[in-house]
């Protein structure tokens, strides 16, 4: 075999192997979101907080065949099983709770998808500070903080469904897109980002709970939209006092009438503009501020239908000044608010002439600028 450089071929193959193995070595490239300094393989599975027993009962009814109950699971305590894994019931400090097992294989899949698709903004470690996420307001979520804005649940932790719907439809007006990935991939990513929460916090916290879903109840105003808008306007500026953070959409006189304040009462400066608020979302250890939207101007992140608005108002926006309204005011009033806000969006957003006539009319009256 004279002439064939077997040694040469061996060296070429060796160099090739060396190069590819180097890509997962420890040294760090300061310029890039190189995956070299972090392992792509998750070696341990994780128990993550799952929704409560009611949720399983509901789901089992809504999607027959999705869940099967296994009485022998978890040492006889019983549990549910579906294609995504096993949900086990366990007692912790006197309280029974469901936990979902995310296997190491599944988290590895999720990890790789996360690094490939999400890390440009959310950072390799899920700290919300990837190269594309820098200088961005609102900031990309840090999954180490495990706070999520649009949860559609009462308590802090959203269900997989809620997270899935946010990822699939995106957040309007931000770089968070509607992601065209399959449910399998997205659910793997979701399990992975849940596993990023620190011990004793969020998804790995025994005291946390996956909130009860805020169901879209029946709209009591379907035939009486006009009255809903009037009622919503009263709630907005009255009982709920939305104008404390969002703009007020009435003149000072009207506000006095709605709030039954005496003549001569004055309200906050720049009443027809929103007021900047604190948020819990941190960048480089500093909490950023958030802007409550002006419904006639800003884009709604999580949908503009009445039902979307109902859910958003009811569940609040977690980690920001927007509280949960479910329970604080009645569902009927929540629907009225949703109708009122929807009406503001439909009538004035992106319609400069109509909007300037409307807002200008509020401002001529004097002290609310």
């Amino acid at each position: 075999m004279r002439g064939i450089s077997w040694q040469g071929l061996a060296v070429a193959f060796g160099a090739l192997g060396l190069l590819t193995s180097l890509q997962t070595s420890e040294d760090e490239n300061p310029h890039a979101r190189a995956p070299r300094d972090v392992s792509l393989v998750v070696t341990e599975g994780a128990w993550l907080r799952a929704p409560g027993a009611d949720w399983f009962a509901q789901r089992a009814k809504a999607e027959p065949g999705r869940f099967t109950h296994d009485a022998t699971a978890a040492g006889g305590a019983g549990g549910w099983v579906d294609s995504h894994g096993e949900y086990s019931l366990s007692e912790i400090e006197g309280e029974w709770a469901y936990w979902q097992w995310a296997s190491a294989e599944r988290l590895t899949d999720g990890r790789q998808d996360f690094v490939q698709f999400c890390s440009s903004c959310h950072g390799l470690n899920g700290d919300g500070y990837g190269r594309s996420g820098q200088h961005l307001r609102p900031t990309p979520r840090s999954f180490q903080q495990n706070k999520f804005k649009f949860t559609k649940v009462t308590a802090d932790l959203p269900s997989d469904e809620a997270l899935l719907s946010v990822i699939k439809r995106g957040l309007a007006g931000t770089p968070m897109l509607p992601w065209d990935l399959s449910d399998v991939q997205l659910l793997d990513i979701i399990q992975y980002i849940k596993s990023l929460s620190p011990e004793e916090s969020g998804w790995r916290d025994v005291y946390s709970q996956v909130g009860d879903a805020i169901e879209v109840t029946e709209d009591p105003w379907t035939d009486t939209k006009e009255r809903a808008i009037v009622r919503g306007r009263e709630i907005y500026h009255g009982a709920a006092s939305c104008h404390l953070c969002h703009p007020g959409y009435v003149t000072n006189e009207e506000l006095r009438v709605i709030r039954k304040d005496p003549e001569g009462t004055t309200y906050r400066e720049n009443l027809t503009y929103p007021a900047l608020k604190d948020s819990e979302y941190e960048v480089l250890g500093r909490a950023t501020k958030v802007m409550p939207p002006d419904f006639t101007w800003h884009q709604m992140r999580a949908g503009t239908t009445t039902a979307d608005l109902f859910q958003t108002i009811a569940s609040g926006i977690k980690g920001t000044a927007m509280p949960q309204w479910k329970g604080a005011i009645s569902d009927e009033d929540l629907w009225a608010l949703a109708h009122y806000v929807e009406n503001l969006i439909v009538s004035y957003k992106d319609q400069p002439a109509a909007r300037s006539a409307f807002m200008g009319g509020l401002r001529v009256s004097g002290d609310n600028k």
Binding site: A74, E93, W99, S103, L244, T266, G327
Partner: protein
């Protein structure tokens, strides 16, 4: 695409082998703190120590006879109280017609610092404590929290009331516990907030009235207190032993810790000093 591209080539053998490993281990939350296997409930609440032979014993109130008292003071020139502008909500203005100053730093003429949370941060591991049934009450009166700083035991509820004729939202900022942010219009019933993990000085804020702030100190034993207007405090009913006592203020942060050794029936005095 990624690993599954042309998975035809790989799937039948490799992935099946991998997939086999995906089954969950039998007992649930292996890693969860305080967990035990599903069938045997822990004898008592605690942090996983129930099985140990020489574990902590249940605390009885009569066991403690020692007292630590002292004071917290602020060194240096106290910041001048700032007038709060409440114009955003006329209802608040109405209730405080004389004007209100910011209550975050309250220093008396002698330098005594009010609203310092003082607690035993180490030395109580030998006992387990049961939280009292009755909740700790935090009221919203005149667009301010009363009291401004409260302490409570883990497992105890924080009951937030709204006595104002206006709407508030109760926004807690814990690091280790569940966060919550719920609105509370005028006339709503009280909210019970659970925080089950020891955490000193959890902020409670109202986003609608940006000046409204309170602090909650949560510890897993009853040895905590808040300094009075002159900066004094008393920690009664301590059993004999070695303790680390800490103090934290919402603006000035932690003072340096004090370690003491105290015998039955003794009374000792310590002091904490804060500065900017």
């Amino acid at each position: 695409m990624r690993t599954s591209f042309f998975a035809l080539v790989l799937s039948s053998s490799v992935l099946t082998a991998c997939g086999g490993g995906g089954e969950a281990p039998a007992p649930p939350p292996g890693g969860g703190p305080g967990s035990s296997s599903g069938t045997q409930a822990p004898a008592n609440s605690g942090s996983g120590g129930a099985a140990q032979a020489a574990g902590p014993t249940a605390w009885s109130d009569s066991a403690g006879t020692a007292t630590v008292s002292g004071s917290a003071s602020f060194k240096g020139e106290a910041p001048a109280p700032v007038q709060i502008a409440m114009d955003s909500d006329p209802k608040c203005v109405e209730m405080n017609s004389d004007g209100v100053t910011d209550g975050s730093v309250l220093v008396d003429a002698a330098g005594g610092l009010q609203n310092v949370f003082v607690y035993v941060s180490n030395g109580t591991d030998a006992w387990t404590f049961t939280a009292p049934e009755e909740p700790v009450v935090l009221d919203q009166v005149g667009c301010n929290y009363t009291p401004r700083v409260v302490g409570m035991m883990t497992g105890q509820a924080l009951r937030v009331k709204n006595s104002d004729p206006t709407v508030h939202n109760v926004h807690t900022y814990p690091r280790k516990n569940r966060a919550s942010n719920v609105s509370q219009p005028a006339g709503s019933k009280a909210l019970d907030i659970e925080m089950n993990r020891g955490e000193v000085l959890v902020a409670v804020k109202c986003d609608m009235h940006s000046w409204m702030q309170a602090r909650v100190g949560i510890v897993d034993h009853p040895f905590f207190t808040v300094t009075a207007a002159d900066g004094s405090f008393t920690l009664p009913k301590l059993p004999a032993g070695d303790y680390t006592i800490s103090a934290e203020h919402e603006v000035f942060g932690k003072a340096s810790k004090q370690t003491i050794t105290i015998g039955d029936g003794e009374a000792q005095s310590i002091s904490f000093e804060f500065s900017k």
